[in-house]
Amino acid sequence: MDLGYLILQVLVFPGLLFTAVAGLITSWVDRKVTARVQMRVGPPFLQPFYDVLKLMIKETCIPAGTARGLFLSAPLFGMAAAALASLLIWRAFLVPGQTFSGDIIVILYLLTIPAVSVILGSFASQNPLASLGGSREMKLLLAYELPFVLAILVPVIHTHSIRLFDLLAAAPAVYKPSGIIAFAVAIICMQAKLTLVPFDAPEAETELTGGAYVEYSGPPLGVFKLTRAMMLFTMPIFLVAIFCNGIAFDKGALPILLGVLKYLGLVVVVVLIRNTAPRLRIDQAVKFFWGPVTLAALVAVIAAFLGW
């Protein structure tokens, strides 16, 4: 394996730069659709880029007496992990033969790192609001992790493989009833993983004034925002890959277009959920995920075992 080439991949395409640009475009879609739902015009296409660039030239403040190293590194680790996860997913699309068995588990763990970095960063802020936000983020992670893993495992049961490439080659999971249930569960979990309404308790503008991000400013905040945008792009792509065969690049233009449409459709679902649901309290969210959502995931798992 050519290491230099891989580094280029992780930094430019399909890693950091590509994911960031695509994520910012996705966040424009999000904002535009939201505006339409609320009968507004919505921002211009480049607005998300302006926002991040503006943060990059703003002043940075660091809380006195904190662990500076952790405070500043936390956003970077989240961003790096998101870039690597994106690289692993896209490599399964682009160079299918070269992926390794068990890459789904690696991607799952990498996709939790952005949340971990938010938590550690918020704790390093030494602000009670940030601490509360961080703890809510952690509880949310606990809540959705169980049903999310169960849902992801449904296609794994269908194909008996934990290699993303094998899932892409097999029949899409959503063709079976168990796959449909699991897909629905995974979408709900994704909503929480992106901390979007109704699961935005960690940030809760009205009560925690930004929660986890309350002490962040300037470039570190910009990196956090960028990571969020990257996740907004990577998570739907991951679900499309797991449940709907992803995007096929070796069969001409039509399948690529179809793949992009699948992705955009999923994004619109995310945006519509976030615009139509009220925020849940954190204990309600935990109950919701450990109760009905996990139950649905278990039903899907049992159905998958029975071959449905």
């Binding site: 030239i57 703890s135 300037g218 450990w290 798992v301």
Partner: protein, 661 residues
């Protein structure tokens, strides 16, 4: 001893049957030569040094700690020399020292790896103890038993005779009892509990050894191989397995670990329940499942069930603890679950994963306990409510704790992730072989890993990141001394190295040979490449920082509601006490704890309804009550009993063999 020269040298033997190769025979050695034999020396040298520690008078406490550290370092060298000697054997055959008097000793891939890890940890703990135990009472016994434990553990690992193994195993349980008790009278209860649970499992081990002896007609570990064909063999297997699981601290034989971890000195907790007992328990379990017994699907599934249950229950308990050392102890229990789960898959990959996880757990769990010890040494408490803000003043301790915490939570690319990933893969494989519960176990294990992260997030917040508690705010707290931070930092580095170079270093050299070297990894997770990629993306971020305003970052007060936080939150209450309204992190999971079925379960766990020690106590108390009635203190009553017994004996004697005694 005897004149005949039957000492065979390593190189001139090339029999076809490798197992029967005798590297040296006891009969040909004099007593002195026997004690200095390179295979016996890892046992005798630390024991001798321990006795020396015991003999030094009290005035030489400083010299004693130096002596113990040097002696444990020499033990590492002795083991290294032994391993080199063994590596020179043709074909890496097991090295055997046999004889009639002591049974035999045997060194193969599995035992060599565990032997090395054990002695290295012995050294690190001795080094740490130099600072941690300074000025404490009963140092004489402490160091004597520390070195003694190293020697006894080497004995367990090298023993190839079940009786020898049993003797060393029992001694180790006793060593545990003494070393917990060194903390003082308040630790006596925990010490007793450990002794009863571990000692009880030793009795089962004794029963198991007896059964195996009768059935297999041999006590030589390496030549026993049994099918689980009938009931009595299952009994033997369960006896051995319970002994192994109780030593490792798997549920339901775990309840001594939290008490021990909370009460014993941190160095003892880091050495025994966190490191050594895991190593030995898992060592015996691997010997059982890969050597002594031929496993079947039902037994493997049972093991996996124990593993998955241990992971989830123990980590849930860890989540709600308020004491740092107790919290860590629950993790010491929970992590065993992953190892048992890996071994329970029965595949080479799973067993390798379990062994690797055992090694990794030893590294990060010891590091965490050592950090807890350092915090305790500097602040005088391990209560999470009364700590905070130590990241700034104890940066080295913080970094080692952070790395170890992320490693135990399975954050890639650290070592904990690699071994978990191996175990997960083995579980999917076991599903292909017809095990239908694998998915539940897999989901449990992955969820357990999230819960682990959650409880360590709480630790990091409460100990290192939140503002200092009122008690500590005006104290001058400094970083611990060299001998105390060095082991922690060294272990944290190992967490990184064993994660990044997992395949090249521990797996290829130690763990794959230990499971027979036939491990199939279909395209591995290239941890080192992934690390380079992560670092590249990270470096790009740093570059952005350097080009932007971060260089001129301003340090400012934290405000809340427009007011400086300290002024709002740290005013004195009406009774003159400083009020601490801050978020310490201890109650982060209160919402989880209060969820409906969990609240009742936690309540039951607090009432010790799941504690085998308390349950056993209640059951035996019931029988005591019956027996107590017979002890009325009345002489005529006792005389009646004696007479009745005599009559029974006479009847048996004169019934002429019709009653078999």
């Amino acid at each position: 001893m005897r004149g005949n020269d039957r000492v065979a040298t390593h190189n001139c033997h090339s029999r076809s049957n490798r197992e029967s190769r005798k590297v040296a025979a006891f009969d040909g050695l004099s007593n002195m030569e026997l004690l200095l034999n390179s295979m016996v020396l890892p046992v005798t040298f630390p024991l001798a040094a321990g006795i020396l520690c015991l003999l030094l008078p009290k005035a030489f406490d400083r010299a004693r700690s130096v002596l113990a550290t040097v002696a444990s370092a020499i033990t590492v060298l002795i083991v290294c020399r032994l391993l080199l000697e063994w590596k020179q054997l043709p074909g890496n055959a097991p090295m055997i020292l046999s004889g009639s008097a002591w049974g035999s000793l045997r060194l193969d891939h599995l035992s060599s790896f565990i032997l090395l890890v054990t002695t290295v940890f012995g050294f690190l703990i001795s080094l740490y103890s130099m600072g941690y135990m300074r000025g404490k009472e009963r140092l004489r016994e402490y160091y004597a038993w520390l070195l003694g434990t190293i020697g006894i553990a080497c004995g367990v690992i090298l023993a190839n005779n079940l009786l020898l193994l049993l003797i060393f195993w029992g001694l180790l349980g006793f060593a545990l009892y003494v070393m917990i008790g060194i903390a003082g009278p308040e630790a006596a209860e925990a010490a007793k509990k450990s002794l009863i649970i571990v000692g009880g499992s030793d009795c089962l081990l004794m029963l198991g050894v007896t059964i195996v002896w009768v059935l297999a007609d041999t006590l030589t570990l390496s030549s026993i191989r049994m099918d689980l064909a009938d009931g009595i063999r299952y009994v033997a297997f369960f006896c051995f397995a319970i002994a192994a699981l109780a030593k490792a601290g798997a549920m339901p034989f775990h309840s001594w670990v939290p008490d021990c971890g909370a009460q014993a000195p941190a160095s003892v907790a880091a050495f025994l329940p966190a490191a050594l007992d895991k190593l030995l328990g898992i060592y015996l379990l691997v010997r059982l499942t890969t050597g002594m017994f031929v496993m079947n699907t039902a037994m493997n599934t049972l093991l996996m069930l124990v593993g998955a249950g241990t992971i989830i229950c123990a980590v849930m308990m860890a989540l709600v603890q308020h004491d740092l050392k107790r919290l860590l102890s629950y993790h010491a229990v929970s992590q065993v679950g992953y190892m048992v789960l890996g071994i329970g898959t029965g595949t080479a990959l799973g067993i390798a994963g379990g062994l690797f996880h055992m090694l990794n757990n030893t590294i990060y769990k010891s590091a965490l306990f050592l950090c807890a010890g350092s915090v305790e040494k500097k602040t005088g408490t391990t209560d999470l409510d009364n700590l905070g803000g130590l990241a700034k003043v104890m940066p080295l301790t913080f970094v080692s704790c952070l790395v170890a915490a992320l490693a135990i939570s399975g954050i890639p690319p650290l070592n904990g992730f690699y071994s978990k990933w191996m175990i997960y893969q083995a579980m999917v494989d076991s599903g292909r072989n017809g095990n239908c519960l694998w998915l539940i176990f897999l989901a449990t294990a992955m969820f357990g890993s999230a819960l682990t992260l959650a409880s360590f997030v709480k630790v990091l917040h409460a100990v290192f990141l939140c503002k200092r508690s009122a008690e500590l705010r005006h104290r001058d707290i400094r970083e611990v001394g060299f001998s105390m931070w060095l082991p922690g930092i060294g272990l944290a580095c190992l967490c990184v190295i064993f994660g990044v170079f997992a395949y090249q270093l521990p797996l290829a050299t130690m763990i794959f040979p230990a499971v027979g070297g036939v491990v199939q990894l279909s395209g591995a997770w290239y941890a080192s490449v992934a690390t380079v990629l992560l670092l590249a993306a990270y470096a790009l971020g740093v570059l952005v920082y350097l080009l932007s305003t971060v260089r001129k970052a301003r340090s400012c007060n934290t405000y809340i509601g427009g007011e400086i936080m300290e002024e709002v939150f740290h005013h004195k209450g009406t009774d003159g006490k400083v009020e601490n309204v801050e978020v310490t992190g201890v109650d982060f999971y209160k919402t989880v704890e209060d969820l409906s079925p969990l609240r009742e379960i936690f309540g039951a766990a607090r009432a010790k309804l799941f504690d085998i020690y308390d349950l056993g106590g209640k059951v035996s108390a019931y029988f005591w009550e019956i027996l107590r009635a017979a002890h009325g203190g009345l002489l005529p009553m006792y005389l009646t009993w004696v007479l009745a017994g005599l009559l029974v004996l006479l009847w048996m004697l004169f019934s002429g063999g019709r009653v078999a005694i």
